[in-house]
């Protein structure tokens, strides 16, 4: 799944800034790398109203007046914050421009020539595209955050990967979009239901990334637990040694008690009592430690597991209702003096909607296995190459 984030280049920064200021009713007057920006007093924005000098990119003179405009400049970050919250829902139409009809991949890469392709829309369909940020965080790894688009057909609630790609193309900064977006007609309840579907689909698509972090976090937790086990094992050995020493001491004292005179007898009895108490303490600690070891240090394990647990947060940022057209695409093909028209299901923005199969072997046509002859019917490369 393609990351929806855009590269924050200086040219993107400048293009977005200029368009946004103008959409606020403001003006940008450019003098090379110095811009004079005016924002009207009544504009609904957090950006400062009035006139402002802006220095672009590498115009880095620290003592120059005005705000600087580069990917990380405060001014640009404020502008992005302002713009992202201004209109997070809306509608976008993917109207079909006949010149932009996407001919299927399986018609490329061979001698069959596409003479004409014509899309006939039969009905309008709509979908929603949701932009989500997904952040994955755990104590031992860096927080990973990515932005993903998820497109769901409004009626079938199926995911439309091709529409996601088309949406990202259409909404990139460099694409010249003439159409303006409009208000969405979605109701809140319908949007909520589609959003839930989109969330489920999204989680499936980011599973690989989550698995990657999960594996590393597990490894880190395992390392920590292993260190802990090692330390405890060492402690057990120390306690065993200590207990053995104490036990010898008790034996020695018992001998003194049996053999010694009255005075040493009393002293030894007293001392044996103390040593026995200490032995009990050590034995108890040892028992406790062994028991915890035999159970795999459940408390510590739980504590480490909790600390390394992955926190995945999914946050929807924009919802776009996307209108697109569905219909049929007639593709006129010519090869070796034969002309044939093929009709396939097609949608604007989503491309070919049906698979077509080889009339001879019934394999699905693909970029790797394209149509190579249209003489009597459509046949794939495999069939034509094997029949020579």
């Amino acid at each position: 799944m393609t990351d929806a984030a855009l590269a924050v280049t200086q040219s993107a920064v400048e293009a977005v800034t200029e368009r946004y200021i103008e959409s606020l009713g403001g003006a940008v007057e450019k003098r090379e790398t110095r811009w004079e920006v005016t924002i009207p007093d009544d504009a609904d924005t957090e950006l400062p109203a009035g006139s402002l000098s802006v220095r672009c990119g590498n115009d880095l003179e620290a003592d120059a007046a005005g705000a600087s405009l580069h990917p990380e400049s405060e001014f640009f970050q404020r502008l992005l914050g302002d713009a992202s919250e201004r209109c997070p829902t809306g509608k976008l139409s993917m109207a079909t421009d006949q010149a932009e009809v996407a001919v299927p991949q399986w018609l490329h890469g061979n001698d069959v020539e596409v003479r004409r392709a014509r899309f006939t829309p039969y009905y309008d369909r709509s979908a929603v595209v949701v932009l989500f940020t997904v952040s994955v965080e755990t104590v031992s790894e860096y927080q990973r955050e990515f932005l993903r688009a998820c497109a769901i057909d409004r009626r079938s609630e199926n995911r439309l990967p091709a529409l996601e790609a088309a949406f990202l193309r259409t909404t990139s900064v460099t694409t010249e979009t003439t159409e303006r977006t409009s208000r969405s007609s979605l109701t809140e309840s319908e949007a909520r239901s589609l959003l839930d579907t989109a969330r489920d689909q999204l989680l499936e698509t980011v599973q690989t990334e989550i698995d990657d972090v999960h594996r590393k976090a597990s490894s880190a937790a395992d390392a920590e637990l292993e260190e802990y086990r090692r330390l405890q094992q060492q402690r057990i050995r120390e306690l065993e040694t200590e207990r053995s020493k104490l036990s010898s001491k008790v034996d020695e004292l018992s001998e003194t008690i049996n053999d010694g005179d009255q005075k040493s007898h009393v002293e030894a009895l007293q001392e044996r009592k103390e040593v026995n108490t200490e032995t009990e303490r050590v034995t108890s600690e040892l028992r406790d430690l062994r028991e915890r070891r035999d159970h795999g240090f459940p408390h510590k394990q739980g504590e480490i597991r909790d600390r390394h647990a992955l926190d995945v947060r999914v946050n929807p940022l924009t919802i776009t209702e996307v209108e697109y057209e569905r219909g049929e695409l007639d593709v006129e093909l010519t090869h070796d003096g034969v002309t044939r028209t093929v009709t396939v299901g097609y949608g604007s923005g989503i491309g070919i909607t049906d698979d077509r199969r080889c009339s001879s072997c019934d394999r699905v046509f693909s970029a790797e296995n394209p149509v190579t002859t249209i003489k009597n019917s459509l046949r794939c490369r495999r069939c034509t190459s094997s029949t020579g």
Binding site: C87, G90, K91, T138, V173, E224
Partner: protein, 584 residues
């Protein structure tokens, strides 16, 4: 390698209420497309380039491709936690300088702590200032208060871990931690390791040419400080990556993949650095009888005075160094001390020494210097020679003498302002002749247009000697470099030169190589200069002295061999590793 599902995954869906509310808000203005683009840009990486590079002064630092690559990868591909493990002499300090400069530019460096071995702290400070315009306080500065009083600090790791400072260092959340000679923290049972393990920081850059000191576990320890869990448990690391004999690696591809996430190692053979030859010509001269008498008197005085009052060590060391530089330097110091009437031992002996100074008519080194510069007039471009001395008085006298002989001369010392210094260097380049400089000539000065250097006197600190040579023998020098060392026979200078410096092949070592030799010697806390001085004053006879210096030379040679062996061992271990940037 380990249990995959040891930890849980908890998924939280943030509330979408505000977003859904906006569907029914009638007063929503603006273009939805702009909101989409803003959201997509907010999630995007800033154009990852080192934007501060354009701000660097090309005259102060010449960046090499592998250094720029390393800085870029450490910042943008390793998320600001990297082990910079280039082979010796490829400029790891420069790489960190670039990283810090970029972070400063991006304002992600509110607090920076650089931990280095003691003897490198001031050098780090000077390099960052001169090459990158970054100001750091060093714990040896008079103005240093404590670790919570400054935001940009260079300190010796041992100062930071000391009882006095440890708490303050650990109480703070540092933005950036730089750890030079990171192999010092290889052992997890040491206070140094413990300090780094407990330090709180967002970004960290560890430097070492030899990540592995004794065994492959060293690599595990250093990397685990940077990226806990990258190698799993210690046991798993051993079982999986280390052969039973502890000396070879197995599963190298996987190890390389993991190391690639955190370690950058450039090798000399992969860079385009092409150093020219360096020729060393050490010339020892017989002093005149009067000079010999003066040397003996001063040495006797120093020895006697030190045995009575060790508190005067610094000034005594100074006298011992000055007597081989020039009588005039010695005279100035003695007169100053006598004028100050400070508590001098045997002031009358000093008066006698002054008399001896006055009797000297011929200063041998200065006469012989004329021979060298005369040769230079014919052999090097525009007769350009740099003469280094440690003392301003010597410098003045040489300048006068050379000027009287008709040479074009230039003086460079710490008393000049930055712009004056720049002008002096420019004049030297344009007019040629002889630049007489003290050690105030900074790292950053670009002097590779000159290829002949004279050490009129020799610092007792080998790093300083290499720094002098490094002014001209640096990247960008196109010609072979000639270094003349001048010493008087049977003096301390001859011992230092012959017995120590030549033994460790000092004049052919890079700063990086020297630091790895010296840092072991100086781990005891005694500086190289102190070692020399102690031997000098404690020897009972000349034979003793010679033996002492021989013993020190043996130590040094051992350290050097050890350093060479380590470097070789690390090369062997990482041989076949391609730790360059990945292709994708």
């Amino acid at each position: 390698m380990s249990g995959y599902d040891l930890v849980d995954v908890e998924v939280t869906h943030e509330s979408a209420d505000d977003l859904l509310d906006s569907l029914s808000e009638n007063d929503t203005e603006g273009d939805h497309l702009q909101s989409i683009q803003a959201v997509r840009l907010q999630a995007g990486q800033p154009d990852s380039e080192l934007r501060s590079l354009k701000e660097l002064d090309e005259n102060a630092v010449k960046l090499l491709e592998h250094q720029v690559d390393a800085a870029y990868r450490a910042l943008f591909e390793m998320d600001g936690k990297a082990l910079l493990a280039d082979e010796v002499g490829l400029g790891k300090t420069i790489e960190v300088g670039m990283i810090l400069k970029e972070m400063h530019f991006r304002e992600t460096d509110e607090s920076v702590l650089i931990l280095t071995p003691a003897q490198l702290a001031k050098q780090w400070q000077a390099e960052l200032r001169e090459k990158f315009g970054l100001e750091f306080v060093c714990n040896y500065d008079d103005g240093f208060e404590d670790f919570d009083a400054h935001d940009y600090i260079i300190a010796s790791i041992d100062t930071a871990k000391s009882e006095r400072h440890r708490r303050t260092v650990l109480d703070r959340d540092w933005d950036v931690l730089v750890l030079d000679e990171a192999h010092y923290v290889k052992n997890e049972a040491t206070d140094r390791y413990d300090l780094i393990d407990r330090l709180s920081y967002n970004y960290a850059f560890f430097l070492t040419a030899t990540p592995i000191q004794n065994e492959l576990t060293d690599l595990y320890n250093v990397v685990s400080l940077l990226r806990p869990g990258l190698f799993g448990t210690r046991d798993v690391f051993h079982q999986y990556f280390v052969n039973g004999d502890q000396e070879t690696l197995v599963n190298r591809d996987e190890l390389q993949d993991r190391l690639n996430e955190v370690m950058i190692r450039n090798r000399r053979e992969d860079t385009d650095i092409d150093f020219t030859e360096r020729t060393i010509d050490t010339r020892t001269f017989d002093p005149t009888p009067k000079e010999r008498e003066l040397y003996q008197a001063v040495s006797d005085y120093v020895k006697g005075a030190y045995s009575q009052d060790q508190g005067q060590k610094l000034v005594l060391m100074l006298l011992q160094k000055e007597v081989v530089s020039s009588p005039v330097a010695l005279k100035e110091t003695i007169e100053k001390r006598l004028d100050e009437r400070s508590a001098l031992t045997h002031a009358d002996d000093l008066e006698t020494i002054l008399d001896l100074i006055d009797e000297i008519e011929t200063v041998t080194k200065q006469e012989r210097l004329l021979d060298i510069v005369e040769e230079a007039r014919d052999t090097v471009e525009m007769g350009r020679v740099i003469v280094f001395t440690q003392f301003r008085a010597t410098q003045r006298q040489i300048l006068d003498r050379l000027a009287a002989e008709g040479y074009t001369v230039h003086a460079f010392h710490g008393g000049h302002s930055s712009s004056e210094k720049e002008q002096i260097v420019e004049d030297f380049e344009a007019e040629g002749g002889i630049l007489v400089s003290t050690d105030a000539m900074s790292e950053g000065r670009n002097l590779q247009f000159c290829n002949m250097l004279v050490n009129l006197d020799l610092p007792w600190n080998p790093m300083r000697v290499e720094q002098r040579i490094g002014r001209i023998h640096r990247i960008g020098q196109k010609r072979d470099v000639f270094v003349f060392n001048m010493a008087l026979k049977d003096t301390i200078e001859e011992y230092v030169l012959e017995r120590l410096y030549h033994k460790i092949d000092l004049f052919q070592q890079s700063v990086g190589e020297l630091s790895s030799i010296l840092s072991r010697l100086e781990e005891s806390g005694t500086s190289f200069e102190d070692h020399i001085f102690e031997r000098l004053v404690n020897a009972d006879s000349d034979v003793d002295l010679e033996n002492d210096f021989d013993a020190m030379a043996v130590d040094l040679q051992e350290q050097r061999e050890l350093a060479d062996k380590l470097e070789e061992f690390n090369s062997g271990v990482f041989e076949g590793f391609d730790l360059g940037a990945s292709d994708d």
